[in-house]
Amino acid sequence: MSVIYSVLGNVLPFHWADYKFMINALLAVLLIAPLMGVLGTMAVNNKMAFFSDALGHSAFTGIALGVLLGIKNEIISLVAFGVLVALIITRVKNKGNSSSDTVISVFSSTSIAIGLLVLSYGGSFSKYSTYLVGDILSITKKELLYLLITFVAVLIVWSFIYNKLLVITVNRELAASRGIKTALYENIFVIMVAVVVMISIKWVGILLINSLLILPAAAARNIAKNSRQYMSLSVAISLVSAVSGLLISFYEDTSAGATIVTVSAIIFFVTYILRKK
């Protein structure tokens, strides 16, 4: 790490690069942003924006569970609960008995309520309020390592399942008729989304995490014509908004997460105007 600090400190002749927490934050967004850009493409294709929103909200209960069970590292309970919620929502949705947005909404509100109920017990919620907007500047070296491992693992799995997911996106029945196990691949995908969302939520915040996943891909989708453009634009938009948002937040003293999301929202509206009807 010290090598990275000195290299970046010298390569980047800016005021902000003198601070270790800024370098850490920069490395963190350089890992989180591409992941969000990549996973977002399929989330948007499969109309899962509301799903990932609910997933983010379930973090409340994930943290609460960790507190109740006395787990020191809340990432474990967060990820475990996130994966569970993702799989349950997907299963209930595919049963198709009730409208999927109703199902998702029920999960979303229930997990917010239960989480808040437990965390506010004894009036101690303020301790957890950083989870609402996140604090990317607080990321530690160890957490960066977790992120790096997640980054590599997700990209490896992704490269194996991408083609299958793409066929499923076009038409489920067609995918099934080609012998693709649609439920299996869908589950692998939602598990990956759950892991990435839950690992990043401490630094990005429950309120903003979904925008990071959805906005870059939605912006890319406005102008992309094929899967290669879609993927590369989504990652590029995600990276540009993450890095520029972080730096703007440093100089303007604003919340990093909020600034990043605002930049990607601006990019979304620009591409929306540019899109071919």
Partner: protein
């Protein structure tokens, strides 16, 4: 049943297929043979069970009876490759998926958004050329016309090269020129690859022009045989002319 003129290389026998939905009988005791190098059309009024029959052959729904495959020397085959062109593909037309993306995902395991294998790409060009739609390669799937989409779906169904090709109402809602191009491609396949082709169709003109054999069904097989024979049969006249409001001439 019309198996006596079976001269094809291989044979697909559909034996006593029956499908029930609750207490409703959708199909009962449907038997016929399909032969390689022949285009067999399945005709019938709406609700006769044509699409259910296709799904039974594809193994997508539960049914009674069996579907068997035989090679030309009479050997039983457990599984054959079936290519399927669905009636109408329901998909999100705004998805950023090009024709090339869509067709490559079935041919390669490397992610199509990054890696392009030159050999696979060349094979794809050849396949597109064969049905006259190489110019569609870079187009977005959602921007294609009905006829163009059907030809792309045909290319998709032809990899891996099937022994049996099933077309379900392949060109409903497609303009005349698109329809003609589509059937030209089908005839080429029949001649060049000696494929067994089964086609469900409403369009009796098309059936008359292209089908070698015709199977007329209404919950069960009413009449089957060479196209001309079926068209001149009493069963055919009864189905299509006594209840014209339910018939195919709409």
């Amino acid at each position: 049943m019309a198996s006596e003129n079976g001269c094809g290389l291989c044979k697909i026998s559909v034996n006593n297929i029956g499908v029930k939905k609750g207490s409703d009988v959708i199909l009962s005791d449907v038997s016929f043979h399909l032969h390689c190098g022949e285009l067999t059309a399945v005709i019938g009024v709406n609700g006769a069970g044509k699409t259910t029959l296709v799904k039974s052959i594809l193994g997508e729904i539960q049914h009674q009876g069996s579907v068997g495959f035989e090679s030309h020397d009479g050997e039983r085959l457990n599984k054959i490759t079936i290519g399927y062109v669905p009636q109408r593909l329901d998909f999100d037309r705004s998805a950023p998926v090009s024709v090339e993306d869509f067709l490559l995902v079935g041919r390669t395991s490397s992610p199509v958004c990054f890696m392009r294998n030159k050999k696979v790409s060349a094979q794809l060009d050849e396949a597109l050329e064969a049905v006259g739609c190489l110019d569609l390669k870079k187009r977005k799937l959602g921007e294609l016309s009905g006829g163009e989409l059907q030809r792309v779906m045909l290319v998709n169904a032809l990899y891996p090269l099937p022994e049996l090709l099933i077309l379900d109402e392949p060109v409903s809602g497609v303009d005349a020129q698109g329809s003609e191009k589509f059937y030209e491609a089908i005839l080429n396949l029949k001649h060049n690859y000696h494929m067994a082709i089964a086609m469900v169709s409403h369009d009796l003109e098309i059936v008359r022009e292209y089908a070698d054999k015709v199977i007329l069904i209404n919950k069960t097989v009413l009449k089957s045989g060479p196209a001309k024979e079926v068209f001149e049969s009493d069963e055919f006249k009864k189905v299509f002319f006594t209840v014209p409001e339910k018939g195919a001439f709409v």
